[in-house]
């Protein structure tokens, strides 16, 4: 007799129940909601909640639910109109220190969310959003490091009173020139003692004694690691300030960063903010020399020629008072006197001290604010990618120092309030340690995402229906059992995807469709065997037993090879392709369970405990 032991039946039952339970959250609607996170020192607590409630009340907007979790507040709404209305109200009420972001969250009953059950995590191609791959310009990062060393070496040699002729930087090397070998050797020792991470090499050229300092491979690696980490931090700050729920910012390889922003809608603006290297520099204007001479090519040493936004040339001192790196906080607003857009800046201790000293010594003299932006792009020249770097330096404001100032002050001269807001955001988020370039972008509009979900769902359902009808006709009772297993398989795939919170993508849905077609293969193999056994004159019960047994190793062999392909796909694929590999692999595993163990349990239940004359197969 064909009977499963009790534990096997219980196992099947448990898997079915658990599968159903964890697949359940996907049936609930998603509420339009808002995720509010605190910036800087702000906190989110019960007081914030009542502030929001009171602010929403006059507008007639009622939150469907509010919850605080992981220092973030989630506010749900009944409709997206309410959500958008509330966005403006809450942003105004809470001010700069809080960032509200629009999102969707499932409306699960408490007992279900209490179990940790969540709906599937949809990929960007389904929920809409922006994916960018950012390349960090490591060559420049290393050159910048060499540049820092060259200025440190200069300071060191001055301190030690070792006279040199010239210090210059070539790519990632620093060359120091002396007029005799003795001084060169003293300097080499001094540099070697102070900067242990530099490789030093003495060179003798005609009439010149040189030291060549280059970054050791270990040091280069450190520089690159730091540049990448610093850039990730900066990008994270920028993204957080923009107010996007569930952003993903991740290292990929040794010089790339992936940024995924679900639900984000304005790619132009986002790319601008992500890629921006805008920063400020404060310099004194050079009033002793003539600007006309400089324009004609006679630029005085110690000064540089700049242009204002309207094209007006200005001469500024080479020495920088403070740079954007010394800015610790910035906000935007309007200048109280002129009503112009302004950025209010706070400096760190060192910057504030320098600023106070310089302004003290130079009251009545003009000081300029330089707006600096670096851009890198890759162009194809003769079939090879070539990096083009462009540096924009504009003087946005130049004004006389009325009185000494230090830690906090304001800068005007920006074109619009929007520009002031963006600049404040960039200054606040910190500068990028190395220039970056967007090398890949995939933006999916929300309408396309929804279409893809609908079409994907439709093809799964139609495919499922066709296969089920065919199986029922072809294998009758056994076909219906296979159909049951097929549906269970689908539920299990959804449940596992939800549990793992693996990303479901459009190719992922295609993977599910494909598994639906292939999952019945195991049952076809088993049922064909059973038919053969019956044709050979075996009894129905023996045929069932033999059919399952003989088909087993074939099924395993066939599925393992498909699994190999899925694993290879997973390890090589990016984003959406990984999604395909994941659903394909999960589908193979669950289908083996449902098609072998699952159907056997049901077949045993139908035929196992009685005498059977003929099987409906």
């Amino acid at each position: 007799m064909n009977q499963y032991p009790l534990w096997k039946n219980l196992l099947v039952l448990t898997v079915v129940l658990l599968g159903g339970l964890f697949a359940l959250p996907n049936l609930f609607d998603q509420d339009p909601s808002m995720e509010i996170s605190a910036q800087r020192d702000a906190v989110i607590d019960q007081a914030t909640q009542s502030r929001i409630e009171q602010a929403l009340e006059p507008a007639g907007v009622v939150a469907k639910g509010m919850a605080i979790k992981n220092q973030k507040m989630l506010v749900r709404f009944k409709s997206s109109e309410d959500q958008l209305k509330a966005m403006d109200i809450i942003a105004a009420e809470l001010g700069d220190n809080y960032t509200p972001a629009l999102t969707l969250s499932p409306d699960l009953p408490d007992w279900l969310s209490g179990l940790g059950a969540e709906p599937m995590y949809l990929g960007l191609d389904l929920r809409g959003g922006i994916h960018v791959l950012i390349d960090v310009d490591m060559e420049t990062a290393i050159e910048q490091a060499a540049e820092r060393y060259s200025s440190d070496i200069r300071t060191l040699l001055r301190e030690k009173k070792l006279r040199y002729i010239r210090i210059s930087r070539e790519n990632d090397q620093v060359l120091v020139k002396f007029n005799n070998a003795e001084k060169r050797d003293q300097a080499t020792e001094a540099i070697g003692n102070e900067f242990r991470s530099l490789n030093l090499e003495s060179l003798d050229e005609a009439e010149a004694f040189l030291v060549r300092a280059s970054l050791s491979p270990v040091e280069k690696q450190e520089v690159q690691k730091f540049a990448l980490q610093q850039n990730i931090t900066t990008l994270r700050n920028r993204v957080n300030a923009l107010g996007i729920a569930e952003p993903l910012i991740q290292q990929q390889g040794v010089r790339r960063i992936v940024v995924q922003l679900p639900g984000a809608q304005d790619p132009a603006k986002l790319k601008e903010i992500l890629g921006a290297t805008a920063t400020l520099e404060y310099r004194l204007a050079d009033t002793e020399h003539s600007v006309e001479d400089a324009v004609n090519g006679r630029i005085p040493p110690g000064s540089n020629l700049y242009h204002e936004r309207d094209g007006q040339p200005v001469l500024l001192k080479k020495r920088v008072i403070v740079t954007g790196n010394q800015i610790v906080d910035a906000s935007s607003g309007l200048d109280q006197r002129s009503g112009q857009p302004a950025v209010f800046v706070s400096l760190d201790g060192v910057g504030a001290k320098r600023m106070r000293r310089m302004t003290n010594e130079n009251v009545g003299k003009p000081m300029a604010v330089v707006f600096i932006e670096n851009r890198v792009t890759t162009r194809m020249v003769d079939g090879k990618p070539v990096k083009v770097k462009k540096k924009v330096e504009e003087v946005i404001s130049i004004a006389n120092i009325l009185e000494p100032f230090g830690r906090r002050f304001q800068t005007t001269g920006l074109d619009s309030t929007e520009e002031a807001r963006d600049l404040a955001l960039l200054l606040r988020a910190g500068a990028l340690a190395a220039p970056i370039e967007i090398v890949e972008e995939r933006t999916i509009g929300p309408s396309l995402g929804q279409d893809s979900i609908d079409q994907g769902f439709m093809s799964v359902m139609i495919g499922l229906a066709l296969v089920m009808v065919f199986m029922a006709f072809y294998y009758r009772v056994f076909g219906l059992v296979a159909d049951l297993a097929l549906m269970m398989n689908l539920v299990l795939i959804v449940a596992i995807l939800s549990m793992l919170q693996a990303t479901l993508t459009l190719p992922g849905i295609a993977g599910i469709v494909l598994t639906v077609g292939m999952a019945v293969d195991a049952n076809v193999l088993i049922f064909q065997r059973i038919r053969e056994e019956i044709a050979n004159g075996n009894s129905p019960q023996a045929s069932i037993q033999a059919g399952y047994e003989k088909a087993f190793s074939t099924i395993i062999d066939a599925n393992i090879t498909t699994l190999i392909a899925a694993v290879v796909l997973f390890s090589f694929g990016t984003g959406p392709i990984k999604g395909f590999a994941v659903t394909l692999a999960i589908g193979i595993l669950t289908s083996m369970f449902t098609a072998i163990v699952g159907t056997r349990a049901v077949i045993n239940f139908i035929y196992g405990h009685r005498r059977v004359k003929a099987l409906a197969i």
Binding site: A268, R379, V439, G445, Q455, M458, A510, G517, A565, F572
Partner: protein, 311 residues
Amino acid sequence: MQIINKGTRFDLMGKRSMALVFSGVLLLIALIAIGVRGLNFGIDFTGGTLVEVGYTQAVELSVVRDALTQDGFGDAVIQHFGTPRDVLVRLAPRDDLESAVLSDRAFNAMKGIDPGADLRRVEFVGPQVGDELTEDGGLAMLYALIGILIYVGLRFEYRFAVGSVIALVHDVLITIGFFALFQVDFDLPVLAAVLAVIGYSLNDTIVVFDRIRENFRKIRKGEAIDIINTSVNQTLSRTLITSGTTLLVLVALFLFGGEIIHGFALALIVGVVIGTYSSIYVASSSVISMGVSRADLMPVQKEDGGPDEMP
């Protein structure tokens, strides 16, 4: 219900010279198509920019072209995508604009025609990323083939491993050849589909091989070719049914899955059809040609404590 009547026995292997000619012709066409016409690589591999815009009503391509030309995108490739309301534009790189902002400019120009236009999709792949994807894709295919070769070699015998890999290469070449011949876009999802074809085609082949092995051990008389023919016949219904159900869902995916998934579904449809044919003919014929015999498949006999061969 039965697809193939009980007791039917086609002389499948007897027609393998015909199959050889058929496969040869298909492969030749595929290779010529790949060599001469080349694959119509999508921007995933070549690098470039693609913008899909959804208009509120049907729009003439010439209107879109005019709008784009005015903004300096004269060399853009423009086509409808799925419906007459959707327009897909491929942009060439421009010297005066950063690649990353190309799409934003083009969308603005296209929005000029219809302020309600909706940005459905932007894909920008830099040249260096495209090169990497091409390389990774090729490597992925190679590793999948090697992994399978090893597994089948361990589970069966080397001739079966070689036979299944011949069938796989056959399927992959013909599927890719199809894309070259009809100049269908070959993008990342299509590459994924080709890799899935490798998995699927093998699945079919393994089932046939499994039966061949079983029959070699069970049927004590008869030529190798007869046993292989019997095995292929015995698994024929299963091969056809599984391919049938898979094709059913793939056709559903092709028809209802949306424009983006078209190439993917098409590659799988072609691959499954070819894979079914090859598991019947190519894989088994290769094994016959390599002269597999019963002895090769007998389970290794355990030595039972015989006399020691000590001198």
